[in-house]
Amino acid sequence: MPLTTAMPTQPNLPSTHWRAGMPSARKRYSYAFLDEGAKREIRRKLLKAVAIPGCQVSFGSREMPIARGWGTGGLQLTLSLIGPDDVLKVIDQGSDDSVNAVNIKKFVRNVTGVPLTTDTRVATLIQTRHRIPEEPLHANQLLVFQVPIPEPLRLVEPSERKTRRMHAEADYSRMWLYLYEDIVRFNEITVGARYPVMVNGRHLMDPSPIPRWDVARLNQSEALLLFCAGREKRIYAIPAHTDVEPLSFEDFAFRVENFHGHCCSRCGCAGSFLDEVIVDESGRRTFICSDTAYCEKMRRRGAAADAAQEENR
């Protein structure tokens, strides 16, 4: 594929006129930590990834001041794309407050000065590990996934040379066979996280360890979805409005997690992805939204509605 070295023209990519607002206190680093060469390489590889939805593109991964396996891939994408007009949100398993999410957020703010938010609607760039925010994304947002293992075929084929050939020839029968054997043995597909998906009817892709609940939401996304594995040096992408289909059989349909009618015990909503948690020493369990910011929003909304009802009485 011919690569252009021009700046991305994708409407989804945020503006990169960062020099305008560059604060002097951060002069020890280039804006957004990475040198311009590294950013340019990543953006160029991103263009290729967007042009071939679901296809893994390798890039020269840089050393990051956080340990590999803690989102260095996602962080490099974020740093290559972010500009002073951006508002950043970082979540880890749905939570804005986990140590990992907070560390990444603080680091990016220190090297860019961009404002942070927990509100999905306000964010322009969201970096995530293991979840997609509950609130629907829109066309002016970027979602950056941290990916531990980018190769969906690794499960069935250890050799990189062979998996490459399989992708080149769209030969995914080994993955299908794996699912078939799963059904024969357990009468269902037991693959939980990292559920393999077909992107644009052509490339098999690892959606990163998100729940099936979120796998179903990759299809026809409004926002550009970007994936990056730092350790394995791979980038891939799902452009907006792309078909994403989880592998399934005619007689064994893909199913998302079932919460059997449970609601969130904090905000009371049904229809969000729930975590089961132990609430006291007796081992009593309850369900709460995995997306903490969404839960908080719903809780406040509920409280406001209650208050309004009070007043009307």
Binding site: E169, L177, Y180
Partner: protein, 285 residues
């Protein structure tokens, strides 16, 4: 009748090659290795037709290039030279039905895979080559069906069970991996797998070599009856003239990568022309 397969000028060299290779190897030179550059000419200028419903034998001593020919026809390996055409019933030009004029070796890997998955079945001498020994017998058959685009688990299991019955493998063992099966049973599973998609062409490479004599006879009987039932055009590779006699109607004799004689199997066995074939036939008696 029009041939279903047409092979012409098929040549495979292993090694760098040099201008001497073809002149200094072959049956006349009693070697397949070029004395100048040490390349192996595993097969050279192999030309033959295979007709619908026919069983064609390829016989020859170890190293004569029989497996190479079959591997090339199954696209397991790239030929150095040669052309390969396939003529199927139904509308040419459809996804898996190439124009009969097209040289299949000139197609891309993806198209060749499609054609192979849709129209060819192969059984190797070594079950390790043709089966995933740790995947269930049913799964091995399903893999071929999956390659051909099947996406219904129930239908695939149904088809696998039918084939295991046809190849006389106990259906109760459908979910067991073939690694613990006997050699004869592994070959039966390979045959079931090869036939699962009702291929137009079946390639059998030394299918019974290495099996006990009594087991050999039963597997050969099975192949003969399945071939007659399905009418699949078949190429049988063997160094055993007994197998050739039992299964084939026409035979190619290979030596040092060359075809040295070809004709009706009965005639070749009764009245061999080439000295090498005479040696083969006499040593069988």
């Amino acid at each position: 009748m029009k041939p279903i397969l047409q092979v012409s000028g098929l040549t495979k060299r292993y090694g760098p090659g040099c201008p001497e290779c073809l002149r200094r190897t072959g049956a006349l030179h009693e070697t397949n290795q070029c004395p100048h550059c040490r390349s192996i000419i595993a097969c050279r200028e192999i030309t033959f037709d295979l007709f619908p419903g026919e069983v064609l034998g390829i016989v020859g001593e170890s190293g004569s290039g029989k497996s190479t020919v079959v591997r090339l026809l199954h696209f397991d390996d790239e030929p150095t030279q040669g052309e390969f055409r396939i003529k199927l019933n139904g509308s040419a030009g459809a996804a898996c039905n190439p124009d009969p004029g097209r040289n299949l070796f000139a197609l891309g890997a993806f198209e060749r895979r499609q054609i192979r998955n849709a129209h060819m079945g192969i059984v190797y001498q070594n079950a390790r080559m043709g089966l995933r020994l740790k995947v269930s017998a049913g799964g091995n058959i399903a893999e071929r069906l999956l390659m051909a685009g099947w996406r219904h688990v129930g239908q695939m299991r149904q088809r696998a069970a039918e084939l295991l019955i046809a190849t006389e493998v106990p259906v109760l063992r459908i979910d067991e991996p073939p690694q613990h099966f006997s050699g004869g049973m592994q070959q039966r599973v390979q045959i079931a797998k090869a036939l699962s998609t009702r291929p137009a062409v079946l390639l059998l490479d030394e299918v019974t070599t290495g099996l006990d004599v009594s087991v050999q006879a039963r597997v050969l009987d099975l192949i003969r009856s399945l071939q007659q039932e399905t009418g699949v055009a078949t190429i049988v590779v063997s160094h055993d003239l007994g197998v050739i006699r039992l299964l084939t109607s026409r035979t190619i004799v290979m030596r040092h990568g060359c075809i040295v004689e070809q004709g009706l199997s009965d005639q070749i066995l009764e009245d061999p022309q080439h000295p090498y074939t005479q040696l083969l036939v006499n040593s069988m008696l």
